[in-house]
């Protein structure tokens, strides 16, 4: 069963009709638009018929508001074996709607493959959780870097989203068919290296001089906001406002079990994310440099006093954060799918949610937080409209800060 969404694109004004008010809707089955479904709208101003367009959308103009209309979906025009379903309604294909004072109304039908073939709630839940874990792992790659930077330097880096975008854009310039068209096994690692270089360069030309100048943390945060704006629009300058695709982004999905469907690239993404995160965790806990990083996160002055070269470690952290963000960017470009100049800014707040949820400055907290945020975002679409799914994560962020500001893995003294 599938809730018929009311996805009206921004450009769709209703001015093309003579009548000032409008009733509209969208007929989809499992996300695929259904074309040529006939609907009848009856009420003040007479009976009208409309068919859905190639996007599954329909709209009619009506002359009056504060009036009642009846919308009937002609089930004969639905594909074979498909019906409008609603257990609480004997005639689910007929709806009474009221055009309110706002002058516009959208009409929802529940549509499904008869009553027999509906995906069970449990299967949907499993599919969403798998999708969410895949998103969460990608988010974790980016959030771990954000968290380490915060831990070692105290900067809430609002430009981290742009480092994610940079990875994806570097990838499309290296691998994209219209530019260098390198093979992916050469191009993607190179894009990650370029992203790491971006982190390094930013530390050398911007963050280190500011550390030397002893600029305050709030100022550094606003500097990162300025940097984020500048980088974002530099990206727009180069790739424009449209969406670009990496090769293979529209590969077919393979049904695995239940309602879970993943393409080969999805599965590779998940594997890569897990391998990199495990390697990173080993580095952080086993290597000298990793231990030094955690020592600085814990207490920078003490770490410096015990002979750790803080400047060097911070530089390594910026480089690593850049590389991980770049890798996350490539995976995100496949997950969305598509590359846009502001794609990183779209997930920046989710990264912050993940980091705060796990505890600011703790690397493993960011990992746990990212997985929770990823699953939450996807699973929440079972109950709330899909275009509100990011809002659910941000709402949880606010609630968490209410009750446990130090985050799940944070220590109590870190209270905000």
């Amino acid at each position: 069963m599938m809730l018929l969404g009311l996805f009206l694109p921004a450009a769709s004004a209703y001015a093309d009709d003579d009548d000032p008010y409008r009733i509209s809707g969208n007929v989809q089955l499992d996300g695929e638009p259904l074309e040529g479904v006939r609907l009848t709208i009856d009420g003040p101003g007479g009976e009208q018929e409309v068919e859905t367009d190639e996007n599954g959308q329909w709209r009619v103009g009506v002359p009056e508001r504060n009036a009642d209309y009846t919308v009937t979906l002609d089930e004969e025009t639905l594909p074979e074996g498909i019906a409008v379903v609603d257990p609480e309604d004997e005639t689910p294909n007929v709806k009474d709607v009221t055009v309110g004072p706002g002058g516009r109304v959208t009409v929802n039908f529940f549509i499904g493959e008869g009553q027999r073939n509906v995906t069970s709630f449990f299967d949907q839940l499993v599919a969403r959780v798998v999708q969410g874990l895949s998103f969460g792992l990608m988010l974790a790659l980016a959030a771990v870097g954000l968290s380490l930077v915060y831990g070692t330097t105290g900067i809430s880096n609002f430009a981290h989203g742009e480092m994610v975008t940079f990875g994806a854009i570097a990838a499309v310039f290296l691998v994209g068919p219209a530019s260098l068209a390198l093979p992916w096994w050469l191009g993607y690692p190179f894009a990650v290296i370029l992203s790491a270089l971006l982190g390094l360069v930013l530390d050398v030309i911007l963050w280190r001089p500011l550390r030397r100048k002893r600029v305050g943390l709030v100022q550094l945060m606003i500097v990162s906001i300025g940097l984020s704006l500048a980088l974002r629009y530099i990206f727009q300058l180069f790739i424009g406002g449209g969406t670009r695709q990496l090769p293979g982004a529209s590969d077919p999905k393979i049904p695995l079990f239940g309602a879970v469907q993943l393409s080969v690239i999805d599965m590779t993404s998940i594997a890569i994310a897990i391998v990199v995160i495990v390697a990173f965790a080993l580095w952080l806990t086993r290597s000298r440099l990793g231990k030094a990083t955690r020592a600085i996160s814990d207490n920078p002055s003490l770490a410096a006093a015990s002979g750790i070269d803080v400047d060097f470690v911070v530089r390594v952290v910026w480089t690593l954060a850049g590389g991980l963000a770049g890798l996350a960017g490539i995976l995100y470009a496949y997950y969305r799918p598509g590359i846009k100049w502001d794609m990183g800014a779209q997930v920046l707040l989710l990264m912050f949610s993940a980091v705060v949820l796990g505890g600011l400055g703790t690397a493993f907290g960011a990992l746990v937080g990212a997985l929770i945020v990823g699953v939450l975002v996807e699973v929440s679409t079972l109950w709330i409209p899909a275009d509100l799914k990011y809002a659910s994560a941000l709402f949880i962020l606010i609630v968490i800060l209410l009750f446990r500001p130090q985050g799940i893995l944070g220590r109590r003294e870190r209270i905000g």
Partner: protein, 326 residues
């Protein structure tokens, strides 16, 4: 290149509703950040609530425009209370993240198709002008001189905008020069010291958050007064632009936000006219006109960085009065 037209457009932007909207929002932000030290990164959310509160009150409930404006302001005050009570105890950067997240939640709620009948989702809202225009005492016609020539509706919007700014400046000036304002500045400098003097720091912060939020909502209403409410406006970039305007003028001043917004919009208008013209003339290293238009937003980002590093007190601020504590 038509320099006369470019300069005329630039001069005209001084009196544009957008400039006034930014000025009011930046003034609210000055109360938040400049005086109380609250890092509110959700100013766009307050503006959205003001604008949507105004438009929805008229379109859905059929109220008069002045009542609708009051409802917009009250809604922002309520939002400030809801936001402030849990979050004002948080340290600076936490507050920044929570407020920016709250503003995004607000925007997504206005954008979602679930409430399309009320909010118009991605289309936004328009056609709420009848009541406001009916109250216009100016006779029909075109007034003004030079670049500042507008019709009666245009002037009525601008007059109401200026009146709002006048009242707002007066209120903020009087409050910040009162004992209340001194306590607020004390909280900004050292919260614990003020607390040890027996002041209820939380309550003062909350009052500042509500006052600034209401001013920002007034900015949102003025911004939306002439044309339409569109959810694409209230993105995080809007917050950052208002911050840039504020820091440019001077965060801990009353007139800094006004000056900052004025310069911000005059420069934006100037560049948005000049850069494409330069590109067309082939003087911008082969950039297209659209690319040249993007250039000015890059400059905003760079300007914000340079301002914060080299001139954190802004144009009108006092360097001794630290606006960035710690």
């Amino acid at each position: 290149m038509d320099w006369l037209q470019i300069l005329s457009n630039t001069a005209s932007s001084i009196l544009s509703p957008a400039t006034m909207g930014y000025a009011l929002a930046a003034l609210g932000l000055a109360v938040h950040f400049g005086y109380a030290g609250l890092i509110n990164m959700g100013i766009a959310g307050f503006m959205a609530i003001g604008a949507y509160g105004y438009a929805i009150s008229i379109l859905t409930f059929g109220f008069e425009w002045w009542l609708a404006a009051i409802i917009g302001l009250v809604a922002a005050a309520v939002f400030a209370l809801i936001l402030g009570i849990p979050t004002l105890r948080l340290r600076g950067d936490y507050l920044a993240i929570v407020t920016i997240a709250a503003a995004e939640v607000v925007r997504l709620l206005f954008l979602t198709t679930a409430f399309d009948e009320v909010t118009g989702s991605a289309d936004g809202l328009s056609g709420y002008h009848a009541s406001f225009r009916a109250s216009n005492p100016l006779p029909e016609g075109t007034y003004g001189f030079g670049p500042w020539t507008y019709n009666d509706t245009g002037w009525w919007v601008r007059i109401m905008g200026l009146v709002t700014i006048g009242i707002a400046v007066l209120v903020v000036w009087m409050l910040t020069h009162s004992p209340w304002g001194r306590v607020l500045k004390g909280i900004r400098e050292d919260e614990d010291a003020v607390r040890s003097l027996g002041k209820n720091v939380f309550s003062y912060k909350l009052q500042a958050l509500v006052l600034g939020g209401v001013l920002a909502a007034a900015g949102g209403i003025v911004y939306a007064l002439p044309s339409a409410v569109s959810p694409g406006v209230y993105v995080t970039s809007l917050t950052f632009f208002v911050w840039t305007a504020l820091l440019l003028g001077g965060a801990a001043t009353v007139f800094g936000p006004l000056l900052g917004s004025l310069i911000f919009w005059a420069l934006q208008t100037f560049l948005s006219n000049v850069l494409p013209a330069l590109a067309q003339a082939g003087l911008l290293f082969g950039l297209s006109q659209i690319q040249a238009g993007t250039l000015r937003f890059i400059l905003v980002g760079v300007a914000l960085m340079l301002l914060v590093i080299f001139m954190p007190q802004g144009l009108l601020g006092n360097k001794k009065e630290l606006t960035f504590v710690k």
